[in-house]
Structure formats: structure tokens, C-alpha cells
């Protein structure tokens, strides 16, 4: 790769150490060239709303010799949150878990199994006490029904509590661990709780979604790796960069909402035209997430539920997803639709004969009045004559006569 030793476009204020071993590291990046890798890191910085210059710092963090250990615990979950990570391409899951983090324990992705895997987890947690990243997906059964979820003979609630003690940061991946998700829907037979409810003394970063967009998770992790602190969180501990706006605010169909163009049922004219899905039960107006902004699966715009014609069902939002019926109307948190809407097609103006007639009449009256006055002045001069002055009544109306 020496032949490709081009200058890295590092702005002068771009901080920190040089990239160092990146070139020799190229193989470990899975065939990704340095340029591509730096572009990816800059992309991450952009997703976080950070200066692109920080991409270099992210690159340094992700290629550091000691990769941060990650313990991933799965509870009452469908594995969708792990599946969603498989759909990430920058980085790919393998580059993430092999190069950037040290995924020491993950029930779905572990190569080891049984006692061996459990032993490895215990040892990693001891060795890395206080600095490993704990990721929890799946809801946690509690109380009398805590036995409903056990791994290696240990109740999940106990595994979580135990793992949290030595964790440097805790991330709840997906709606189930963020706020309970499907398992917590009424009647909630397992008393499923979110990670934050089980760990009231810790800050659990929530990445809700069913599944969440993988990049919301990856960006949070990379932020932690780079800056050694968590991104800015909202009152429900969700990263603001991803959950700071209602779906409704950035939705590509929002102009249709504002203009009153709604699909009323699946397959009708409006639905085929791509109009707003509010009346089909879209929960975008009450769901906080960045789905319309970043889409899914790296295939471009519109790759998200509303983009393909299905109303958002509020998977990220506690009290909406898995709680409200899919086709019930959303509770609007910002503007309500007006009762009257502008027309879809605007008239471009018309000429009415009557108007032309009236205009001509007014102009004629004005000209006539002026002529009468002028002739009077010409005949009699300025002092008033004996005849009653002024012209036709209409001349009073003309603009020329006004004061």
C-alpha cells in the first residue's frame, strides 16, 4: 500500500495523534482502503453532528490496539436487534466485532458455547471491570416470573444486575430493553421490565426501535469509544442525535400532511400517489426517531416503513408501539391538520369580460370627466363660471379624481 501513500486531508485543527499504523492495518479492515475507512469515520462524525475533522479522531479510536470489550446480554427478545446489525455496511458487523470492539460475549454470535462461553464472559468481566461496554437487548422478566428467562441456570435479571456492576457504560438495544417492548405489552404475563427499571442506579442509554436503526447503535458506541463519554441524552436517556425529533418533522410526506393530501385507505388514489398516511394510523406525529432522515439498509432514500407506504406504528415510542392499535389515529404533538386546505391545483388567473367592461368604464369616466373639466377651464379660466361645476358623477370615483 506504500504506493497509495497519499496525504490524508487532515485539517490543521484536527487534534491528536497521527493515524499511525493505518496502512499496515489495511488488511485488518477487511479490504477497506484507508481512504474509505477515513470517509466512513467522517460519516460517523457527521451522523453525530460533529465536525468532519473529528473523523480522524474516531479513526484513531477504532484502530487502537486495545479494543474495548463488549458484553452483550440477550433476554426476552427476537434477536431482531442483532439481525439489524448484520444489515450495517459501514462498518460491517464483522469489522465492528473483530476490529473495533472486542465482542467478548454474545449468545447469537459467540463461537464458543455452553460452559466455555460462560466462563469466558466471567473472566472478561473480571479482567475489564469498570471499563467494558454492556449491551442489553430484550426485556427482563422480574418478580415472581423472573424465572421465565434463564441463561446457563442464571436468571436473566440477575445476569443483568451482576454485569451492570462492572460496566463502564450500559446500552439498551431495542425497544424491549429500552422500555419493555412487545414482552411488556398488556397483560405482560412475565412482568417484563426495561433495563433502566431493573438498573435504577445506572444510566442506561436507550436505543429504542423494533429493531432500531443499526447506525443509531454504532454511532453511540463509536462516540463512547472516541470521546470516552456518552452522546447527549434526552429525558428518557435516548441519544438526542437520533431521537431528538419527531418522525413527523422530517418525514418526506410531511408536505402532503400540510396540504391536506391524505391516503384514506390502502391502495386508494392518495395511497398510490404517496400522500400522507396520517389517516391510516401513522404514528409519525407522536414518535421520536430519525427513520426518515437516515433510512434503513443503506439503499438510499425512502427505505423505511412510511417510505414504502406503510404507516409508522411507533416502534420506538413507549405507549405507542405495541400499545396503540396500528390503525388508530396518532395524537398530534405539534400542529393539527387544518379544517380547510389549499387547493392542489392553483388557478393561474382569468380574464372576465365584466371586469374588462368595468375597468374600461372607470377609465372612460375618468377621461370624460377630465375632458369636461379641461374644456371648462379652457373656456372660462380658473374663476368659477356660472354653471354648476364638475363633470359626471362617475368621475368622482376615478382614481385621478382622488385627493
Amino acid at each position: 500500500m506504500a504506493s497509495r501513500q497519499v496525504a490524508i486531508p487532515v485539517p490543521s485543527h484536527a487534534s491528536d495523534e497521527p493515524i499511525g499504523q493505518l496502512d499496515s492495518y489495511q488488511g485488518a479492515l477487511g479490504g477497506v482502503t484507508r481512504r474509505e475507512f477515513l470517509m466512513y469515520c467522517t460519516g460517523v462524525a457527521a451522523a453525530l453532528g460533529l465536525s468532519p475533522a473529528l473523523g480522524v479522531r474516531i479513526a484513531n479510536a477504532t484502530t487502537s490496539a486495545t479494543r474495548p470489550p463488549v458484553i452483550w446480554l440477550s433476554g426476552q427478545a427476537c434477536t431482531g436487534c442483532t439481525e439489524t446489525l448484520l444489515r450495517a455496511h459501514h462498518p460491517t458487523l464483522e469489522s465492528l466485532i473483530l476490529d473495533q470492539i472486542s465482542l467478548d460475549y454474545h449468545e447469537t454470535l459467540c463461537s464458543g458455547a455452553g460452559r466455555q462461553a460462560e466462563e469466558f464472559r466471567r473472566r472478561s468481566m473480571e479482567d475489564n471491570h469498570g471499563r467494558y461496554l454492556l449491551v442489553i437487548d430484550g426485556a427482563i422478566p422480574t418478580g415472581d416470573t423472573a424465572d421465565y428467562c434463564k441463561v446457563a441456570g442464571e436468571r436473566f435479571v440477575d445476569s443483568v444486575t451482576h454485569a451492570a456492576e462492572g460496566a463502564g457504560a450500559i446500552i439498551a438495544m431495542g425497544s424491549c430493553s429500552s422500555w419493555g417492548g412487545v414482552p411488556s405489552s398488556q397483560p405482560n404475563p412475565t412482568n417484563a421490565r426495561s433495563a433502566q427499571e431493573v438498573l435504577p442506579d445506572h444510566t442506561v442509554v436507550s436505543i429504542p426501535g423494533c429493531p432500531p436503526n443499526p447506525y443509531n447503535f454504532l454511532v453511540t458506541v463509536l462516540h463512547y469509544l472516541t470521546f470516552e463519554r456518552l452522546p447527549e441524552l434526552d429525558h428518557r436517556n435516548r441519544p438526542r442525535f437520533a431521537y431528538g425529533r419527531l418522525i413527523h418533522e422530517n418525514c418526506e410526506r410531511r408536505p402532503h400532511f400540510d396540504a391536506g393530501r391524505f391516503a384514506r385507505e390502502f391502495g386508494d388514489e392518495g395511497h398510490r400517489q404517496g400522500w400522507c398516511l396520517y389517516y391510516l394510523g401513522c404514528k409519525g406525529p407522536e414518535t421520536w426517531a430519525n427513520c426518515p432522515a437516515i433510512g434503513f439498509n443503506d439503499i438510499g432514500e425512502s427505505a423505511w416503513p412510511v417510505g414504502i407506504g406503510h404507516p409508522c406504528f411507533g416502534c420506538t415510542e413507549q405507549g405507542v408501539g405495541f400499545t396503540k392499535s396500528i390503525h388508530s389515529l396518532a395524537t398530534l404533538q405539534t400542529v393539527t391538520p387544518p379544517t380547510a386546505f389549499p387547493r392542489v391545483v392553483e388557478d393561474q388567473g382569468e380574464l372576465s369580460t365584466a371586469a374588462v367592461g368595468v375597468a374600461a368604464g372607470v377609465a372612460g369616466a375618468a377621461v370624460g370627466a377630465a375632458a369636461v373639466l379641461a374644456s371648462r377651464l379652457a373656456k372660462h379660466g380658473p374663476p368659477p363660471s356660472e354653471a354648476p361645476p364638475a363633470g359626471t358623477p362617475a368621475d368622482k370615483a376615478s382614481s385621478d379624481q382622488s385627493t
Binding site: E346, D347, Q348, G349, E350, L351, S352, A354, A355, V356, V358, A359, V362, A370, L373, A374, R376, L377, A378, G381, P382, P383, P384, E386, P388, P389, A390, P393, A394, K396, A397, S398, S399, D400, Q401, S402, T403
Partner: protein, 398 residues
């Protein structure tokens, strides 16, 4: 007021309900009918306004031309108080009256034309203002000037009500308002041109120029003088008064120079920018440009100082031509030369025309009531009155 020659003003008296007045009232009533429709069913029910032409004649004529007519007070105040030409003082009160109505009804037109008029007060709330907006500047300036005009005109009411003490107190601070009364129109009359500058290429190159603010200001000035002359001639005929021909003649000289300046600026700008070529294309724009320029030029020829005294007829015709030319210039700028894009078309609806007619009728009606009931016009020598005493009732119209 620091009068040069303590003038005496008097109400004209006479009946209010004359024939012409009733006709004007009928026209105002028709306008009311359309206005009720506008406020019940909305702008779309009455006007031909569209997304392409959001401004129609209610703005182009009622406001832009209406306030230019309303520049009488501005132009005369500039002459009398700033340039210290006290001999024009007899013209001050009628001019202020014209301004008061021109601006009040212009403001009313804006209110009528505002789609969401009930939010109109928001422009007076500083925390909601967008300070880069030339529209905001114009709106606030016009609103402020309207207030100033009322104060400037208030001595008339105070005289009528016999409140001498208030009048004396007001006189001490009146100079501030007179100063503002000259400053504010300078600001917003030029801003009406600035509004067009930001339209960019949507305005035909025959009118679009960086000089628009200056051209609008100069045009407002000579239209202000012209309306004074026009009004004086009409009042003289209508109310059987002697004409202040001497003063008016000198005013005409001022108008002629302003007009010359306007035409030179306008043509030079078109020639130097090369946009004069658009005047030779076969378009409505070009036709209107030539008509407008010809009217200005005709007025200039009539106004040009001669050795002989100008006749009343020439005064009247030149003022009339100037008003029509100025009106056309503004309508060209705001409507005819404005091209929002393919397909858009605007011609005012019957409702729009009748509202405009009604508003100008109302203006004339108010003028008649004011000059007959309030001390607006200067008193005429008793001798003159006796000479023409054969029409004591004064079946006066405007």
C-alpha cells in the same frame, strides 16, 4: 406652527348631502358589498389573486399609487418647513388632508389584502419581527407616518373644538412631528422601490434597476406636488375660490425639474445597462414603457417654464398627466412588468375594481366633509366672495 404669514383657515360650510356626494356614497356602498364577501368567504371569493400574483390592484393602486397621491403632505412640508419656502403655506393643510386620507385608506387596503388580517398586529410586536424584511420596514414606516400625519393635522381639530391651550402646547413640539413627517415618507416611498429590487428577474428589465428606490422617491415627490396642483384647481372650480395661481406656477417649476431628473435617470440607466433594447421588442411591456414615458414627457413639455404665465388649463392638464404617468409607472412596476412565471395571468375582478373605486370615492367623500366642516382651506377675501355671491348655497362638489 412657525407660520410665515399667520394664515386664517375656515370651514367652507354648505350642505354635505349633494348629488355627487350621494353618487360617491353609492359607489362606496357597492365596495362594502364586495368587502363583506371578502371577509366572509375570503380573498379567493372576490379577487383574481393567485399564487403567481399575490398582489393585485389593492396593493398596486390603492396602496402604492394611493400613498403616492398621499405624498402631497410630504412634498409640501418639505418645501415649506425644510426649504423654508413659507409662501407655499396656504397649501399645507389641504395637502396634509390629502396625505391623511391617502395613507389611511392605503393602510386599510393592506388590511383588506392581508390573507390573515387578524394576525396583522403581529408586525408591531418586536419579538416577532424579521428585521431584514423590507416589507416590515415599509409597513412600520407607513404606520408611523399615519400617526405623525394625525398629529400634524390635529391643529385643525383643535381649532374646531376651540382647545387653544392644547393647541399651544402642541405647537411647541410640532416641529418634531413635522421632521418625522418628512423623514418617514422618504424612507418608505423609496422602500416601495426596494421591494421591487428584491423581486429580481421577475420584474421586466425595463423597470428592474438598482435605482428603483431613488426613482420611486422622485416620482412620489412630483406626484405629491401634482396632487396639490390638481386639488387646488378642482377646489377652485368646485368651491368657487380664486386659484393660488402664483404659488402653483412656482410649484410647477419644481415639478418640472424633478420630472426632468426622473426621466434622465431612468433613460440613462436603461441605456447604460443596455436594457433599453427590451423597449423595442413586440411585447406589452415595451408598449407600456413607451406609453408611460410619453406621458411623462408630455407632462414635462407642459410644465416647462415659459415666459408667459401658464393658464389654469395648462396647470390642470400637466398635473393630470403627471398623476396618470406616475400611476402608470407604479402599476407597470407592480403588475404589468411583473412576470412570476409561465401561465400566470392577472386582471382584476369586478369586485377588486369596485373596492378600489369605492375606496377612492370614500377618500373624496371624506375630503368634502372635512373641507366643509373643518378649517382646512384658507379664507378667501370677502370681496371675492361678494363678487360671486349669486351661488350662496354652493352646490359644491369636489
Amino acid at each position: 406652527m412657525a407660520d410665515v404669514r399667520t394664515p386664517k383657515h375656515a370651514a367652507l360650510g354648505g350642505r354635505i348631502l349633494t348629488g355627487p356626494f350621494i353618487v360617491l356614497a353609492a359607489l362606496a356602498l357597492i365596495a362594502t358589498y364586495f368587502l363583506v364577501q371578502r371577509f366572509v368567504f375570503g380573498l379567493g371569493a372576490v379577487t383574481n389573486l393567485s399564487d403567481g400574483y399575490p398582489w393585485g390592484i389593492w396593493i398596486a393602486i390603492d396602496l402604492v399609487v394611493g400613498t403616492a397621491f398621499g405624498c402631497a403632505g410630504y412634498a409640501i412640508a418639505l418645501l415649506v418647513y425644510i426649504l423654508n419656502r413659507g409662501e407655499y403655506h396656504p397649501l399645507v393643510r389641504p395637502a396634509l388632508l390629502a396625505s391623511l386620507f391617502g395613507y389611511a385608506l392605503g393602510g386599510l387596503s393592506v388590511l383588506i389584502d392581508l390573507g390573515r388580517y387578524w394576525q396583522g398586529y403581529n408586525m408591531f410586536l418586536p419579538w416577532l419581527s424579521q428585521y431584514n424584511s423590507v416589507m416590515l420596514e415599509t409597513a412600520l414606516c407607513i404606520a408611523a407616518y399615519l400617526t405623525v400625519l394625525m398629529v400634524e393635522f390635529s391643529p385643525v381639530f383643535l381649532e374646531k373644538l376651540g382647545m387653544r391651550n392644547v393647541r399651544q402646547k402642541l405647537d411647541r413640539v410640532l416641529f418634531i412631528f413635522i421632521g418625522l413627517g418628512v423623514l418617514l415618507p422618504t424612507m418608505h416611498q423609496s422602500s416601495m422601490g426596494t421591494i421591487l429590487v428584491i423581486l429580481g428577474h421577475q420584474l421586466s428589465p425595463l423597470w428592474q434597476t438598482q435605482l428603483l428606490p431613488l426613482l420611486f422617491l422622485v416620482s412620489a415627490l412630483f406626484m405629491g406636488f401634482a396632487i396639490v396642483v390638481f386639488e387646488a384647481v378642482l377646489a377652485s372650480i368646485g368651491f368657487r375660490r380664486p386659484m393660488e395661481t402664483f404659488i402653483l406656477n412656482r410649484l410647477c417649476t419644481a415639478m418640472a425639474w424633478l420630472l426632468l431628473g426622473f426621466l434622465v435617470l431612468r433613460l440613462a440607466d436603461l441605456v447604460f445597462s443596455g436594457n433599453i433594447s427590451f423597449a423595442f421588442a413586440a411585447t406589452l411591456d415595451a408598449v407600456m414603457f413607451w406609453v408611460e414615458s410619453a406621458l411623462h414627457l408630455a407632462a414635462l413639455i407642459l410644465l416647462w417654464p415659459r415666459s408667459s404665465r401658464p393658464s389654469a388649463l395648462r396647470l390642470f392638464l400637466s398635473a393630470l398627466l403627471l398623476l396618470v404617468a406616475g400611476t402608470l409607472y407604479r402599476v407597470d412596476c407592480y403588475l404589468i412588468g411583473y412576470h412570476p412565471g409561465d401561465g400566470w395571468f392577472y386582471f382584476p375582478s369586478v369586485g377588486e375594481i369596485m373596492v378600489t373605486v369605492g375606496i377612492f370615492s370614500l377618500e373624496v367623500m371624506l375630503y368634502l366633509v372635512f373641507v366643509k366642516r373643518l378649517p382646512v382651506l384658507e379664507t378667501v377675501e370677502a370681496a371675492y366672495r361678494e363678487e360671486h355671491a349669486e351661488h350662496p348655497e354652493g352646490t359644491a362638489s369636489a
